[in-house]
Amino acid sequence: MSSEHNEYGPDHGPDHGHEEQFVEVSISTTAGFYPADEFDRIPANQKVEVQLRKAQNKLNIRDTAGWIATVTLDSGKRQIDVTRTYRENGLSGKVEIDWGPSEGGGG
C-alpha cells in the first residue's frame, strides 16, 4: 500500500514521524540521576518542568530555587527554559539535562 493512501494520511505511515513525537530524557543532579538508569521516553510537547518535578520528588531534593537546567550540544552548553516544552527548546532525540544551583553572587 502506498504511504500516500493509508489511514495515516499522505506520507504518514504508522511509523513515519513517530519518533519525533518523543524525546528520551535523563536528568543528572548531584543528588543522583533520574531515572536512575537509562532514559525516560517523554512526549516532545511536554514541558521540561514536569520531568524535573518527578526528579525532585524521587531524589528527595528539598528546594530548587535558583536551579538551572542545561544541555550540552555540539555548539556548547545551553540553559533551557523549563517552562517550555522539549520541542520549544529545540530538543530532540536523547536529551541529557543537567540540573543544579546556579552560582551565587560573588562579592
Binding site: T30, R62, P101
Partner: protein, 145 residues
Amino acid sequence: MHPVAVKALFNEQVATLSPALAQRRQWIFHSLAFPAIDCSFTAGGGTTLRVRFHCDEWNDLPPSITLHAADGAFLTTAPANPTGVFHAGPHPLTNRPFICMRGSREYHTHPSHLGDLWENAKNGSSFTLGGILTQVWNAWQKGAG
C-alpha cells in the same frame, strides 16, 4: 556536631557524586575521602580548575575551598571570571585568592560578609556539598578558557 556524625553526613552527600555524573560534567574526582573533596573541572580546551573542599566540621561550618591548577599547585591569582565568585583576595585568613560566594568558608569569614550567616543557608538543597560544588562549577564555566 559529633565527629562521627560529621563524617557520616559527608559520606552520605558524596555518595551520589558518581562516576556517571563526573563523566557527564567532565569532572575528575581525585578524592572523595573524608574530609576532602578534590575535583578538577575540565572542558574542551579550556584551562582546568581544580578545587579542594576541606570539610572538617561539616556542616556546622561550610567547606573551606582552595583553588588549584591541574597539577595541584595553589593558584596565586584568581581565575578570570565575570561572576565575582573567584576573588583575587588575598583573603585575610588564608592570604590567597578565594571563593567569594555563600557556601564557602572564606566568604562567611571575610569581614565583608560576617553578617551573612552560614546558618541561614546550610539546610538548603543548593548548599549540600554537591550543590556548592555545582555552584562553583557553574561560575567557572562562565569564564573557562
